[in-house]
Symmetry: C2
Subunit: 173 residues, 2 copies
């Protein structure tokens, strides 16, 4: 019973300082000081009640500007462009996925319905939000420091973008 | 440009010991010893490559058995049934959401494509999976212990289910 006909609904839109994909930071955790806003659809504003008691939240986004009809099952992540190494799609965080759902941990700065101001931005201006969930340590934190595969072997520079990682690869560019 | 016509695709199905919704644990982190399997669609098996280097992964699921045409913007979470207290939908983790996407942190036990065996189960047998992402501490862990809103005030008993939390509420049942 796969939901081949299930549809996703926009619950709001991100207003961020980033309008060019290649210059947008790749992970919220690497760009934690910049702020942006989720403009929640006013029909859903009441759903924000109580979120101000949480320091962090998950933004689930729909990265349809990244959608491919058939994304490759192995891709070279931006962080591995230098090595050109391919990784399985379910072992990387890149946006060209079968379902282009983004998962961003953000710091809750202000909840003023229908707006949510947050810090930690890896999203283009105009990105569609499909869910907001509170961060709950009991559910979302592993009990000890986990192995993180190939990420344990690479630099994750602050505010890295696709463009900055390409520049590292080719100092002449 | 909301994706009102965007569709989600099943990438696999969960095979778990739980077949009754009210007896299914509410959060993977509260039921970390039980194991289950994601049977990934063989067409996507290569996407699992490299996941065995990670101790934890996120399962994003589509909880369409929970879907309501119009979920309430304030709901009483299972963990607050005793108090009967309502919380905004974006400040709780319950499954009756505008987009019924579940987010479960699970421990990677074995990657044997097309199957992924994991520990930490809060999913019904047959649940549709829409994405698998590796857990990356640099992206997914807040820099310090965060406030977690109303969750900081309630008990989160191991292996809690909807039924067990109802029983607490009404010892006669």
């Amino acid at each position: 019973m796969p939901p081949r006909d299930a549809t996703v609904t926009s619950i709001g839109v991100v207003r961020s300082p980033y309008t060019v994909r290649d210059d947008t930071p790749l992970q919220s955790g690497l760009n934690s000081d910049v702020r942006a806003v989720v403009e929640v659809d006013p029909a859903y504003a009441d759903a924000l009640e109580g979120l101000d008691g949480f320091d962090y939240a998950w933004l689930l986004t729909w990265l349809d500007h990244e959608a491919h009809a058939s994304p490759a099952m192995r891709q070279v992540p931006s962080f591995l462009q230098r090595e050109g190494r391919e990784i399985g799609l379910f072992a990387m965080r890149g946006p060209r996925r079968i379902n282009p759902v983004g998962l961003s941990l953000v710091r809750v700065v202000e909840v003023a319905p229908p707006n949510l101001t947050f810090a930690g931005v890896d999203l283009l201006d105009g990105t569609v939000v499909i869910d907001i969930k509170p961060y709950v340590t009991a559910f979302d934190a592993p009990p000890s420091t986990p192995r993180c595969g190939w990420f344990d072997e690479v630099d994750l520079p602050a505010s890295a973008t696709r463009r900055s990682l390409r520049s590292d690869d080719d100092p002449a560019s």
